[in-house]
């Protein structure tokens, strides 16, 4: 996966409401002026399916008054990401909430900004499967029905424990980012590989089909559980300013409506048609519930309904 070049960001003004724009601009200028320094380099996670999240982080930093040059964090799995950020090698990442991250937050080794970057859509999981077995879930109506199938997830993902908690056999595989699990499906080791609904439709499916055109999405089932992508900040002192700026900036972005505008620049609210004909199966997240998102930001979540 090619690394992105560092991007120099400038404060983004509000597009809705002159007062808000002026306020944001003044705040940015004020903090930039106070710092009086050249843009600081911040190592921030960057992956193709996280463009919206990165844009939101950049906007929040700017709104929060930090002029920064975003440097791509190295790519790694969740364990690596967690180590890198808690050890201070990465300043900011945008990953789903996991028990490990929550534990580190409790221990003061990681800082969390509980802004639902995927607007709750991450909890909507759609299964990738082989084209020739496209209708294998046609008769599935409950989590119990899913226990007949073998699911695949990346090593270390929290989803593994969610599915296992629901009694669904789940295997952890190492490589998935380019759709490599298709080979294990061909071999009969896996049947399904669920991923976030919106990111799958927007990014993963076309990306995977470049190498594995035999992959498709299941038209019969949507799995749903509380599952959020938040912003995480390094616990090191050199990230204090970043954490403060992001906390301030996201509040400003949400309040100004800029959050939604930026989000919609990269993502779409799934069409109600996506749910048409699909059974939504709710399963519990044994680690947390919807209350993890602060009340002030809960309204950002999208709750798609079947037409």
């Amino acid at each position: 996966m090619p690394a992105m070049r560092p991007t120099r960001l400038v404060p983004i003004s509000c597009r809705q409401g002159t007062a808000c724009r002026v306020l944001a601009l003044l705040a940015g200028l004020l903090f930039a002026g106070l710092s009086g320094a050249a843009p600081r380099a911040l190592v921030v996670q960057n992956e193709p399916h996280l463009q919206h999240a990165r844009a939101l982080v950049a906007a929040a930093l700017a709104a929060g008054g930090v002029e920064a040059e975003l440097v791509d964090a190295p790519h790694g799995n969740e364990r690596r990401n967690l180590h890198m950020i808690s050890d201070g090698h990465v300043h900011v990442d945008m990953m789903p909430v996991t028990p490990a991250r929550l534990r580190l937050v409790r221990e003061g080794r990681l800082r969390m900004i509980p802004i639902p970057l995927d607007r709750g859509l991450l909890g909507y999981r759609i299964n990738l499967l082989l084209e020739r077995r496209r209708d294998m879930l046609a008769g599935v109506r409950s989590a119990a029905d899913l226990r007949r199938f073998n699911m695949g997830q990346n090593v270390g993902w929290m989803d593994v424990e969610v599915y296992r908690g629901a009694g669904i056999a789940t295997k952890e595989i190492k490589d998935w980012a380019d759709g490599e699990f298709a080979l294990q499906m061909e071999a009969g080791l896996l049947d399904l590989f669920p991923l976030g609904l919106e990111e799958t439709l927007t990014h993963f499916l076309p990306h995977f089909r470049k190498k594995f055109p035999q992959l498709t999405i299941d038209p019969h089932v949507i799995i749903r559980y509380p599952w959020y992508r938040f912003v995480w900040v390094s616990p090191k002192a050199d990230a204090d300013e970043v954490y403060d700026a992001l906390s301030r900036g996201f509040k400003m972005l949400v309040d100004s409506g800029e959050f939604l505008r930026i989000w919609e620049r990269y993502r779409r609210v799934p069409s109600p048609d996506v749910l048409r004909g699909r059974v939504v199966i709710d399963i519990d997240n044994p680690f947390y519930g919807p209350e993890l998102v602060p009340p002030a930001w809960r309204w950002l979540q999208i709750l798609p309904e079947a037409p």
């Binding site: 996966m1 090619p2 690394a3 791509d72 190295p74 790519h75 790694g76 799995n77 364990r79 690596r80 967690l82 180590h83 890198m84 050890d87 090698h89 090593v155 270390g156 190492k174």
Partner: protein
């Protein structure tokens, strides 16, 4: 009587071939042992270098294979790799200090608490670093491997047998070849020379020897030519010795004062004369002359005068007798004459008288004249005897009878 000591036992024969082998063996063996040891030492050092390089390669290879699992914080895979590393023949133990989860993974033999490895093992360490797409490096941990200390004995044995076999074969070939060359260049020519010398000595024909000398224009040929020259010189010396022997024999049979034969010559000549007489049947006589008044001359005038008288007497006898007669000086003032082929013995008294008269003639000695006489006894053969002893005894008696009748 002094006991004659026993002659020493003959020394055992030591052929050149065997001496050559014996003397060649020690230095050759020493050279090959040194060559073997030197080669083994060099091979050991090379092997040691290879082993060190191999260990470095092993360390690098496994460190490389650990990058991805460590980057993924996948300690299960890392442990598997570490176990595989610990199963390498040269590896005693392996330790991985990884940073993602802050764990210390161990495999193989117990790692001592100092972290320096186990016992006398050689410890190799390598940091494990991940380099991302942008060329940034991230330290993931450190791999430490305790290698078995290199076994000198094992390595030496491994290379020793190989080179020992090789050098033994070389040694055998070299020794065999040298012996064949020695046989061809030394032993066989020497045997041919020996045969040629024996053939030449037996037949007197020097052609085989010369042929061998001609064939060898080398040191062996030089030796044979020197031998040939020596033989020529020896032949010359031997000839000279023979001549000398003849002269000595002649001198031994001759009276140095008168130049006549002596008692030894008398014995031989008389024996031969008797043999001839027996063959021919011709009689002969032996005259024994004893000078009278010789002693007073000796006493009065000295031995020089006596010698002079004896010489003059011999000369006069020689002139008076036939050339075929034999005159010898028996010793002192006694002479013997052997006369063969005497057909008419009637003339014998006249001859005896004549001889007496000749001898009695005065002999000048300075301003003086010396006079001696002669008593002569005869014995004829075969009538008076057929052996020299018998004849001389008969003549002696006759001579004394004559001396008494004077």
């Amino acid at each position: 009587m002094t006991p004659v000591p026993d002659s020493p036992p003959p020394r055992p024969r030591r052929p050149l071939f065997r001496q050559f082998v014996r003397q060649l063996l020690a230095p050759l063996l020493l050279a090959f042992v040194l060559a073997t040891l030197g080669t083994v030492l060099i091979a050991y050092q090379t092997k040691q270098g290879e082993e060190i390089a191999e260990r470095e390669r092993t360390l690098e290879t496994f460190a490389r294979s650990l990058v991805k699992p460590l980057w993924d914080c996948d300690n299960a895979t890392a442990s598997g790799i570490l176990d595989a590393l610990a199963h390498q023949p040269a590896v005693l133990a392996a330790r991985l200090d990884e940073r993602c989860q802050g764990q210390h993974l161990l495999a193989g033999a117990a790692w001592d608490e100092t972290g320096e490895g186990a016992g006398k093992a050689t410890v190799g360490r390598l940091p494990i670093v991940y380099e991302d797409e942008r060329g940034r490096e991230f330290a993931l941990g450190e791999l430490a491997v305790a290698f078995h200390p290199p076994s000198i004995a094992a390595v030496m044995l491994e290379v020793l047998w190989r080179y020992l076999a090789l050098f033994s074969a070389l040694f055998g070939v070299l020794l065999g070849g040298t012996l064949l060359i020695f046989r061809r260049m030394i032993s066989e020519p020497l045997a041919r020379f020996q045969a040629a010398i024996r053939a030449s000595a037996g037949s007197g024909d020097l052609a085989p020897l010369e042929e061998e000398m001609h064939r060898h224009n080398d040191e062996l040929g030089d030796v044979m030519r020197a031998y040939d020259e020596l033989m020529i010189k020896l032949a010359s010396v031997i000839g000279q010795l023979r001549d000398n022997e003849t002269v000595l024999q002649e001198a031994a049979r001759r009276d140095p004062l008168t130049g006549l034969g002596n008692r030894l010559a008398l014995e031989e000549e008389l024996t031969r004369a008797l043999a001839r007489a027996r063959r021919s049947g011709e009689p002969g006589c032996v005259l024994l002359l004893d000078l009278n008044r010789f002693k007073p001359i000796n006493d009065t005038w000295g031995h020089a005068a006596g010698d002079n008288v004896l010489q003059e007497t011999a000369r006069r006898l020689s002139e008076a007798l036939r050339a075929s007669d034999t005159i010898v000086r028996l010793g002192g003032d006694e002479f013997v004459v052997i006369m063969e082929n005497l057909q008419d013995r009637e003339n014998l008294p006249g001859l005896i008288a004549k001889l007496g008269e000749i001898i009695a003639r005065p002999q000048p000695y300075g301003e003086h004249g010396l006079t001696v006489g002669a008593s002569i006894g005869t014995a004829c053969f075969p009538a008076d005897g057929e052996t020299s002893a018998a004849l001389l005894a008969h003549a002696d008696r006759a001579m004394y009878a004559s001396k008494r009748g004077r």
